[in-house]
């Protein structure tokens, strides 16, 4: 997050989720459209640097990405956000490339670059015309082990990071709320801490903290280098060796241990699946005078490919689509079309984090002040086609704003309960899969997204190639009973954390 605009707002949870979903999107598409597989090389240098090169000659451009396996999950209380602060400092100079020179060199060569930090990793990219990509190797190899970390640059850049936190979080009621929600929903898990760090922590880092963090985590054996584009792979592999092979490995790489995720057992046959009263500890209510329209959020702990319960990841992905993606989704049909309670709804799930994740839901109620909505039942739609049968009570009574939140919650829980009790129809299931697979093809419109997918999976320890090539089949293999099973297993009222943000 060194400059605004193109960064991944890892400090803010919904955007992060969107990004992770997008990643899934890229993965699927590759497997689906290129049966013969990607033309690639995947090898590890003697110093432990993992190198993945992919030839993608659609346009005469290439991207370099370096992923370090260090993120906010590796941090400790009191030093939250240190990984992100170091990400900023990675642009502040080495003996060979002094501060300011990095951006100048990339700019003179027509390149673009940025970086981002998430819970799990810190990544850097440089995009260039393909015949200039060696510049990226030179710059990345240099700063992998030779960062200067000078006091004067740190002081100034620390102010920048404080401003970044103000922009993203402190001056945005939604940002403030999501930080609290994440802290509540993840509890003591490190994912509950903001990626950008608490402001008091940011204000108290020292250069010594950063130097220690850099020494600890920045080494070839804690990194993945990904190059995608119009490349000659053999020549590129040699360039990579020329620039990186002499960097020393770090023998004592730290390993962060997070408490393992235990998937809940399947509910007993007579266990009430939904519609229970939530306990007080499951609720977070935030009142913020900066808010103009309330929001409803919900999150359930769910597994990823790296935790127990990994066999349920793809069914959960399909479930998220059926629940909350687009106007055909269950939640849109119920809350927006039938009940007229909300203007928008969504469901998000990733599945690739180093630890467990949240399966999240959100809804925005109608804004008060509009004219009474027309009775839906009275609309003439008499052409014999399947139309929505509308219950007039929601729309006609015009429940809006914060007053709608209890009914929104009730309707969401009702829909989840239905999914846990009844299998979805074949048409609905196939529609969700078709939409997912198509979006995955579309998302592969740029080498950037492919490189990001490979980098994230590899940094997290997932076999990127097997995921890339097999994901479409895995999505296609999800059956209606799988969707029902994972809804019943994971989306249980006892596991839900609800947050509401009101003016």
């Amino acid at each position: 997050m060194t400059k605004p605009g193109s960064d991944r707002p890892a400090a803010r949870w919904p955007d992060g989720r969107v990004w992770v979903r997008l990643l899934g999107v890229v993965l699927l598409c590759l497997g689906s459209w290129r049966a013969e597989g990607l033309e690639h090389q995947d090898f590890t240098l003697n110093n432990g640097l993992r190198v993945i090169l992919v030839r993608e000659p659609k346009a005469p451009v290439a991207i370099s990405q370096v992923w370090y396996r260090v993120g906010s999950v590796d941090e400790v209380e009191g030093k939250t956000g240190l990984s992100h602060m170091l990400e900023h400092m990675m642009f502040q100079g080495t003996p060979a490339v002094p501060a300011g020179e990095f951006h100048r060199l990339v700019g003179r060569n027509g390149g673009e670059n940025n970086a981002s930090t998430t819970h799990d990793a810190t990544s850097y990219y440089i995009k260039l015309a393909a015949d200039r990509i060696e510049l990226a190797l030179r710059l990345e190899a240099d700063r992998m082990r030779h960062l200067s970390l000078q006091e004067e640059h740190f002081r100034s850049e620390n102010q920048v990071v404080q401003e970044e936190r103000r922009s993203r979080t402190d001056a945005d009621p939604n940002g403030r709320f999501l930080e609290k929600f994440q802290a509540r929903a993840y509890g003591s898990h490190p994912y509950g801490r903001p990626v950008i760090g608490w402001m008091t922590d940011i204000q108290h880092y020292t250069v010594a903290d950063l130097r220690a963090w850099y020494q600890r985590h920045y080494a070839p054996n804690n990194a993945v280098l990904v190059l995608v584009g119009d490349l000659d792979l053999a020549a590129m592999a040699q360039h990579v060796r020329d620039h990186f092979a002499d960097l020393p490995a770090r023998p004592d790489l730290p390993q962060t241990l997070v408490s393992p995720y235990r998937p809940p057992p399947l509910p007993a046959a007579d266990e009430p699946v939904g519609l229970l009263e939530l306990s007080a500890s499951q609720r977070l209510a935030v009142t913020d005078p900066g808010v103009t329209l309330p929001m409803w959020y919900g999150g359930y702990p769910v597994p990823t490919l790296l935790s127990e319960g990994r066999e349920d990841v793809f069914a959960l992905d399909v479930l998220a689509t059926i629940l909350g993606s687009g106007s055909n989704s269950r939640l849109y049909q119920k809350l927006v079309l039938e009940e007229g309670l909300a203007v928008s709804v969504s469901a998000h799930y990733g599945g690739f984090s180093r630890s467990w994740e949240l399966f999240t839901l959100s809804a925005t109620p109608k804004s008060p002040g509009g004219p009474p909505a027309p009775s839906l039942a009275a609309s003439p739609e008499g052409n014999g086609e399947p139309t929505l049968v509308s219950r007039p009570d929601g729309a006609a009574t015009g429940v809006t704003g914060a007053a709608a939140l209890p009914r929104i919650e009730q309707a969401i829980l009702h829909e989840i309960d239905r999914l846990a009790r009844e299998p979805v129809s074949e048409r609905e299931l196939q529609r969700a899969k078709n939409g997912m697979i198509a979006r995955h093809v579309f998302a592969h419109d740029s080498i950037h997204e492919l490189a990001s997918a490979i980098g994230l999976l590899s940094a997290n320890g997932i076999d990127w190639l097997s995921v890339v090539e097999e994901l479409p089949q895995k999505i296609e293999a999800v059956r209606a009973e799988d969707v029902q099973r994972v809804a019943a297993r994971y989306l249980r009222p006892g596991h839900l954390v609800v947050g509401v943000l009101t003016p």
């Binding site: 005469p60 300011g100 951006h103 804004s367 939409g435």
Partner: protein, 438 residues
């Protein structure tokens, strides 16, 4: 009138472009039904097609007192056809994995369609439905109004949105460029379904439309699709009156306005009238803007305000060249206590540019950057179709991309100085601050 230019024109433009000449798709321009301009950007690397249809008729065409009609009409674009109600229409799109929607901006509405090649026939059918046979049901209209009202209300939380709305009002008090694209609560309350029906009918006239088709399709397929599905397009020009010209200067002298919000950070937005899209100084201003506050962290504003002083996470300048004079703006956020210092620095940099222009080193470096990064902007069907949509909409010529690098290279220090004097006089900047008291 087919022009096959791509293969010939790009040779030797930029170091390293020899590859592109072979790898790049051909762009072909044809006349579509009713006189619609159609650009085909062939690329068979992915089994997908991306279409952008750009039509004249954004919020500048909102009827008096009904700000928000263009936005609402675009929202209604994928809400069904004469034979398919909205739910059925959307279900069929999703079942085939087709994305179809429309978005209004100030001067145009952009329809975006993305489909797998295998579902092209379904995609053409739904596009034609939406253009020629929109359902326009009252209940869907009511839902659109609800969503738009929520958006207008939610936007009030965002300091940058509020600053931008206010600055536009200050720069264009009596011109449609000053109205918010999403409309106002007041305007929205007056809009009826009939307004939307009329707006749709007035927008989609073939002579006022450009269609870009990028991806896995060839010319015969394109022409067959156009003939089969869009032959019914209205061939007459839109009956709308022309937009009134932007006054040469806003009626009030430059001023500063403040919006009070209880935030730890002040949003600063400075703006003046920029240029229109066909201004001969377009390239000079493009270069100037990149040096002053363009993308990346090399700009003067970024160097002075972020890198040297740590006063902001991001500071930038931007100009929006429209059919008439769009705004030139400078924007940043900083902690409340630094507001005055930041404002002074912004004004100082504007003055320095207006007085001194740029150095030869700055000019040469930025030309290297802009010409060198040119291929990065054409990587992917989304970027290609968006670029060709702009070329078509503003009639920039099918040789626009081919000539672009040379036109950037031709910019001199004198050109930059001239446009700096003309546009960047700090005395003509309007200022908005949003945050805690002064």
């Amino acid at each position: 009138m087919i022009s096959r230019l791509w293969t010939v024109v790009l040779a030797g433009l930029v170091c390293g472009w020899a590859v592109l000449v072979q790898a790049d798709p051909m762009v072909q321009t044809v006349q579509g039904p009713g006189g619609m301009t159609v650009h085909l950007v062939e690329s068979h690397a992915n089994p997908m097609v991306e279409m952008r249809l750009v039509a004249r008729g954004g919020s500048v065409s909102d009827p008096p007192g009904k700000a928000g009609v263009a936005y609402l009409t675009a929202w209604m674009f994928n809400e069904g056809s004469d034979t398919l109600d909205a739910a059925t229409f959307q279900e069929r799109l999703e079942f085939h994995g087709i994305h179809l929607d429309a978005t209004a901006s100030l001067e145009s509405v952009v329809v975006r369609l993305t489909t797998l090649t295998g579902h092209l026939e379904e995609a053409w059918s739904r596009l034609a439905d939406a253009l020629l046979r929109p359902r326009m049901a009252e209940k869907d209209f009511a839902r659109g109004v609800d969503e738009q009202r929520a958006l207008i209300v939610k936007n009030q939380e965002q300091p940058q949105t509020r600053a931008s709305l206010l600055l536009h009002q200050m720069l264009y008090p009596d011109h449609p460029y000053g109205r918010p694209v999403v409309g106002t609560l007041e305007g929205l309350s007056r809009i009826t379904l009939a307004d939307v029906v009329r707006f749709h009918a007035d927008t989609y006239h073939a002579p006022d439309m450009v269609l870009v088709v990028a991806g896995d399709m060839d010319l015969p397929q394109l022409q067959a699709g156009l003939a089969r599905h869009l032959a019914g397009l209205d061939a007459t020009p839109s009956p709308r009156a022309a937009m009134p010209p932007v006054p040469s200067a806003p009626p009030t002298a430059p001023q500063a306005q403040h919006v009070e919000m209880d935030l730890p950070q002040t949003t600063l937005l400075l703006g003046t009238l920029g240029i229109h899209r066909h201004d001969p100084d377009y390239y000079a201003l493009y270069v100037l803007n990149q040096i002053l506050g363009g993308s990346g962290l090399n700009s003067r504003l970024s160097t002075e305000i972020r890198e040297k002083r740590g006063l902001t996470y991001g500071v930038y300048s931007r100009f929006v060249p429209l059919s008439d004079r769009g705004p030139f703006i400078v924007a940043m956020k900083t902690k409340t206590e630094s507001t005055s210092e930041a404002l002074a620095l912004l004004q100082q940099e504007l003055q320095r540019m207006a007085r001194e222009g740029v150095t030869e080193t700055e000019l040469q470096e930025v030309i290297l950057y802009l010409t060198g990064s040119f291929p990065l902007h054409l990587d992917g069907l989304g970027k290609l179709s968006a670029t060709w949509g702009t070329i078509g909409f503003y009639q920039l010529g099918t040789d626009y991309l081919a000539k672009w690098p040379d036109r950037i290279r031709a910019v001199t220090r004198e050109d930059v100085m001239r446009v700096a004097r003309r546009i960047l006089d700090a005395e003509r900047f309007y200022t908005v601050t949003v945050g805690k008291g002064r």
